[in-house]
């Protein structure tokens, strides 16, 4: 039963490569950096452009009122 599920997954994955490529090329063409998952806060719309170290910047690990912020992590590389 589960192998059927895996089979289905791999078949539809193949079927959707075209789509994936479409998205990838759009990202490339427009110079996009992020997935459009959360449109509620600027640091979750462009998660990778947000950071953890800038003073007073609301960041996704703080307690705040945007739900999306509480299950994402910002670009952590700034702390290196």
């Amino acid at each position: 039963m589960l192998s059927f599920l895996l089979l289905h997954a791999s078949i539809s994955r193949n079927a959707q490569t075209q789509n994936l490529q479409l998205k990838a090329s759009l990202v490339h063409e427009l110079g996009l950096t992020d997935l459009c998952l959360f449109t509620e806060a600027r640091y979750t719309r462009h998660l990778s452009q947000a950071d953890l170290y800038t003073a007073f910047q609301d960041h996704p690990l703080s307690l705040e009122h945007f739900p999306s912020g509480s299950f994402t992590e910002p670009n952590l590389s700034g702390i290196r």
């Binding site: 039963m1 589960l2 599920l5 895996l6 289905h8 997954a9 539809s12 994955r13 959707q16 789509n19 994936l20 490529q21 479409l22 998205k23 990838a24 090329s25 759009l26 990202v27 490339h28 063409e29 427009l30 110079g31 996009l32 950096t33 992020d34 997935l35 459009c36 998952l37 959360f38 449109t39 509620e40 806060a41 600027r42 719309r45 462009h46 998660l47 990778s48 452009q49 950071d51 800038t54 003073a55 007073f56 910047q57 996704p60 690990l61 009122h65 945007f66 739900p67 999306s68 912020g69 509480s70 299950f71 994402t72 992590e73 910002p74 670009n75 952590l76 590389s77 700034g78």
Partner: protein
């Protein structure tokens, strides 16, 4: 051997009829269990698929983005920086980006406004070289690219827009309609929508509005000496990090973001450690533990009596345990399979409808996306060990204690 097999069959049969006996209780158990597996499996499927999809799609994102930070805020980048960056060794090309957010008070949605970089013309030729798809097959044909944001072969012109599918949905507008904006100087700009972005690309483009550079500058009152940030292309991909460091050294207020960091950000999105995820996850695990515990400690007097009877009529302790093992296995496997299959349908066919309120948060614009089913056997195994094994163990342990009780209890606890 023959009789051993027959014996197992008897025990399984008895287990089944014994499960059917307590229909309400066992169905309740099954539903609860399935629900927990469903939630856990949905989380695992969803997060994994998002991560894999992001990893694939964002391969095409810029090698280095340079932001300008002033007094702790992301600020506009002076155009003069572009030449400074260009002069750094190892930089192949520098491209400016103009983008920002726009709050649409009419529908309460946030849009991302963007000027397609290729208007300057240079990115296309240079960018393609460094596109890091895994092999030539990943690079789409030019005609496909054009369809994305050019209409009828011509690039975006002043006074026109191309909107993402989410924007079109929010405002119920489309090709040929006009969208009014109030510019920074108070003037009303009525821009014509000449196309919408492909609905298949909503995961990256749902909230986008593409506009011409001149419109963008007018709308936000940004002078031509400033851009939002810069895209840097590096001549040798292995030098990305070095170049980023050099940029930082040259321009002290610059914050370079390299593609690896972008990819890393998305490979750690929805991390188990992160906020809400741990809440959801631990809630599910807790519920599971509670009910396994309840199951474990809640050997009712009736069940004890039954075990006593079975032992009195000649069942061995191991037979009783085997029976309870099958009981636990039947319940947990049934729930496991149905939970996993429901989760699969949920995540990959219904667009994770259960999670939508949480993912949506306060935003009004939510992309309609269909995830590519990245599922592997490893995930299923993890899930299996997370749910089936502990449950089965939790059911056996107390039974084992009970089953070692002397069978003469059957003669005493007369519960009929």
């Amino acid at each position: 051997m023959q009789s051993w097999l027959e014996k197992q069959r008897y025990i399984v049969d008895f287990t089944m009829s014994s499960l059917l006996r307590r229909k309400v209780k066992n169905i309740g158990l099954l539903v609860l269990y399935t629900l927990i597996v469903f939630i856990l499996a949905s989380i695992i499927f969803f997060t994994y698929a998002i991560k894999r999809e992001a990893a694939f799609i964002l391969q095409g994102s810029p090698e280095i983005i340079v932001q300008n930070l002033i007094a702790g805020r992301h600020d506009l980048l002076p155009v003069s920086f572009l030449d400074q960056i260009k002069s750094i060794r190892g930089v192949a090309n520098v491209e400016s980006r103009l983008w920002g957010y726009f709050y649409d008070s009419l529908v309460g949605a946030n849009y991302t406004l963007l000027t397609p970089p290729s208007q300057a013309g240079s990115l296309k030729s240079d960018g393609k070289k460094t596109f890091v798809g895994s092999g030539g097959s990943d690079i789409p044909t030019p005609t496909e690219e054009k369809n994305l944001y050019e209409y009828e072969g011509a690039p975006l012109e002043p006074g026109t827009l191309i909107i993402g599918n989410g924007v079109a949905r929010m405002r119920s507008i489309g090709k040929g309609d006009y969208m009014p904006f109030m510019a920074a100087d108070g003037e009303i700009m009525n821009l014509k929508i000449v196309n919408t972005l492909a609905s298949e690309s909503e995961l990256v483009s749902s909230d986008l509005i593409l506009m011409h550079e001149s419109d963008f500058r007018k709308l936000f009152g940004i002078s031509s000496t400033y851009v939002t940030d810069a895209i840097v292309t590096v001549s040798n991909p292995s030098e990305i990090e070095t170049v980023a460091n050099k940029i930082k050294k040259h321009i002290h207020t610059a914050r370079p973001i390299i593609r690896d960091e972008i990819l890393r950000t998305y490979s750690s999105i929805f991390n188990w450690r992160g906020g809400m995820m741990i809440v959801v996850f631990s809630a599910a695990v807790l519920a599971f533990v509670i009910f396994a515990w309840d199951k474990a400690s809640g050997l009712s007097a009736e069940e004890r009596q039954e075990i006593g009877i079975l032992k009195a009529v000649g069942w061995e302790t191991s037979d009783v345990i085997r029976m309870k093992f099958w009981e636990g296995a039947v319940v947990s496997l049934t729930s496991f399979f149905s939970g996993v299959i429901l989760a699969y349908i949920h995540v990959f066919f219904t667009g994770s409808i259960v999670f939508e309120p949480a993912l949506k948060g306060w935003s009004n614009l939510y992309p309609n996306f269909k995830l590519t089913p990245f599922v592997n056997a490893e995930q299923l195994t993890t899930l299996f060990f997370l749910t089936v094994i502990p449950y089965t163990v939790a059911t056996i342990v107390p039974i084992w204690r009970a089953a070692t009780i002397d069978p003469d209890t059957a003669m005493r606890h007369t519960g009929n």
